[in-house]
C-alpha cells in the first residue's frame, strides 16, 4: 500500500501536507505524535473511511482490517455471534476450532456466549482483536490497539502483531505511548 502526497485540512488547521508513505509486507509502521496531530485521521484515510483533500492512496489488497476507537462489535450480540458476523462479511464460514483457539488465548472462552455489553472495556477490545484475526486480513490498521488492555493483553496483542508481520502481513499502528516495536518504521506526525 502506498500513500502519495497526502494533504488534509479539516477546517482551518492543516494536518498534513505532502505526506508520502508506503507500507510493504512484513512491516510494522508506527504513527506517533501528540494528541490532535492527525494519527487517527491518517489511519481513517488509509482505511478509506475518510477522503483526503488531495493526494492518492493505492491499496493493493482489500479488504483491510481496521480497528478504531469504537470496538467494531455489535454490543447486543454475543462474542461468538460477532465472530460469526465478521467471517460472514469476509465471505467464509466461521472455523469453530480456530475461534475456540483464539477465545482460549484471550481468556474469553467463558464469556463466549455473553453479549458484548456485559463485558468490560478490556474484554471488548480483546473481542475486536479476535475479529481482526478471524477476518484473515493482510493489512491491519490499528488505532490505539493497546488502550484499555491490561499488561497481559498488551503483551498478547504485541506478539500477535509481530507474528502477523513475520507471516507476511503488515500493520500500521497509531499510538501516543512509547514505541513497543524495536524494528518498527516510525512516522512522526507533528502539529504544523
Amino acid at each position: 500500500m502506498t500513500v502519495t502526497d497526502l494533504h488534509c485540512q479539516p477546517g482551518s488547521q492543516e494536518l498534513f501536507n505532502g505526506l508520502c508513505l508506503s507500507i510493504v509486507a512484513g512491516e510494522v509502521c508506527e504513527l506517533r505524535g501528540p494528541n490532535g496531530c492527525g494519527k487517527s485521521t491518517l489511519l481513517r484515510i488509509m482505511a478509506g473511511l475518510q477522503q483526503p483533500d488531495n493526494g492518492k492512496i493505492t491499496r493493493f489488497i482489500e479488504p483491510l482490517g481496521y480497528l478504531g476507537h469504537k470496538f467494531g462489535v455489535s454490543s447486543i450480540l454475543t462474542v461468538r455471534e460477532n465472530l460469526q458476523w465478521t467471517s460472514t462479511l469476509c465471505g467464509n464460514r466461521l472455523d469453530s476450532h480456530r475461534a475456540r483457539e483464539f477465545l482460549e488465548k484471550f481468556q474469553l472462552l467463558s464469556a463466549a456466549n455473553k453479549s458484548i455489553q456485559e463485558l468490560s472495556a478490556g474484554q471488548k477490545r480483546r473481542c475486536s482483536v479476535i475479529c481482526l484475526l478471524i477476518g484473515n486480513y493482510k493489512l491491519w490498521l490499528l488505532d490505539e490497539p493497546f488502550s484499555s488492555l491490561d499488561s497481559s493483553g498488551e503483551e498478547l496483542v504485541r506478539e500477535l502483531i509481530q507474528d502477523h508481520c513475520r507471516n507476511g502481513g503488515s500493520t500500521v499502528i497509531a499510538s501516543h505511548s512509547e514505541s513497543r516495536f524495536a524494528n518498527a518504521n516510525q512516522v512522526e506526525l507533528g502539529i504544523s
Partner: protein
C-alpha cells in the same frame, strides 16, 4: 471554461460580470414592472389583479429552473468531482428557496381575488409547495453536516432524487385530484396572453433570469473566498475588505 473551473481565476474574472448582471437585471426589472403595472390596460376578466402575473410567472419559472440546475450540478459533482459544482450548489440553494417562496406567496395573493381562495390543492401548487420543502431540506442538510465533502455528496443525492420526485408528485396530484374533484382551475385555459402583455412579461422573465444569475454568481464569489481563505491569492482581498 476550463479557466473558470479554478477558484482563483473564477474569482478574478467574474468581478465585472456581477456588476453588469446586477445593473441590467435591475433596470430590466424596473422597466418591465413599471410597464406592466402602470401602462398596460386592465385585463378583461380579472381587472387589475392580474398584474401580479409580472411577478409570479418569472419567479415561478426560475424557482423550477434553479432546482433542475441544482440536480444537474449534483450529477456533475457525483461524476466529475468538480469543485465549482459544489460552490454552485451552495450558492444557488438559498436563491432557489426564496424564489419558490416568492412564487408561492404571489400565487396566493393572486388566488384571493381570482379564485376566492389563497390555497387550492391543485397539482401546480402542491408541487411548488414540496419544491419549497425540498429547498428547505437542502439548506438544513448543509447546515447539519459539518464536513463539506460529505455535505455536497448528500445534497447531490437529495437534489437528484428530488428532481425525479417533483414531476411524479405533479402527475400523481393531477391524477388524484381528478379522482376526487373535477379540475376547477385552469389558469391559461381560455385566456391567451395578448401581445400587449407579452412584452413586459418577457422583459421581466429575462430580467429575473439575469438578476438570479447575478445573485448566484455573487454568492459563488463570496463562497470561493471563504473556502480558500488560507490561500495566498486571497489575502489581499480579505485585507482589503477589513480596511
Amino acid at each position: 471554461m476550463h479557466r473558470l473551473a479554478s477558484p482563483q481565476h473564477f474569482f478574478l474574472d467574474t468581478k465585472m460580470w456581477v456588476v453588469w448582471l446586477y445593473v441590467v437585471g435591475i433596470i430590466g426589472l424596473l422597466v418591465g414592472s413599471i410597464w406592466g403595472l402602470a401602462f398596460v390596460p386592465p385585463e378583461r376578466f380579472q381587472g387589475d389583479s392580474f398584474r401580479i402575473i409580472f411577478v409570479h410567472v418569472p419567479v415561478a419559472i426560475f424557482a423550477q429552473i434553479v432546482y433542475i440546475s441544482l440536480a444537474i450540478a449534483g450529477g456533475v459533482h457525483l461524476v466529475w468531482k468538480l469543485r465549482m459544482a459544489d460552490v454552485y450548489m451552495a450558492a444557488a440553494t438559498p436563491v432557489g428557496f426564496w424564489l419558490t417562496a416568492l412564487a408561492l406567496g404571489s400565487g396566493m395573493m393572486w388566488g384571493i381575488p381570482t379564485w376566492g381562495t389563497p390555497w387550492e390543492w391543485d397539482a401546480r401548487i402542491v408541487s411548488t409547495f414540496f419544491l419549497l420543502i425540498l429547498f428547505l431540506g437542502l439548506i438544513v442538510l448543509r447546515q447539519v453536516i459539518p464536513n463539506p465533502a460529505r455535505a455536497t455528496t448528500a445534497l447531490s443525492i437529495l437534489a437528484i432524487v428530488g428532481a425525479i420526485n417533483i414531476p411524479i408528485i405533479k402527475y400523481s396530484v393531477v391524477w388524484f385530484n381528478t379522482l376526487h374533484q373535477p379540475a376547477s382551475i385552469e389558469l391559461f385555459g381560455d385566456i391567451s396572453i395578448h401581445t400587449i402583455y407579452r412584452i413586459p412579461l418577457f422583459t421581466n422573465i429575462a430580467s429575473v433570469f439575469i438578476l438570479t444569475a447575478g445573485i448566484i454568481l455573487a454568492n459563488m464569489r463570496y463562497l470561493t473566498i471563504e473556502r480558500n481563505a488560507s490561500k495566498t491569492w486571497v489575502q489581499p482581498w480579505i485585507q482589503g475588505r477589513d480596511q
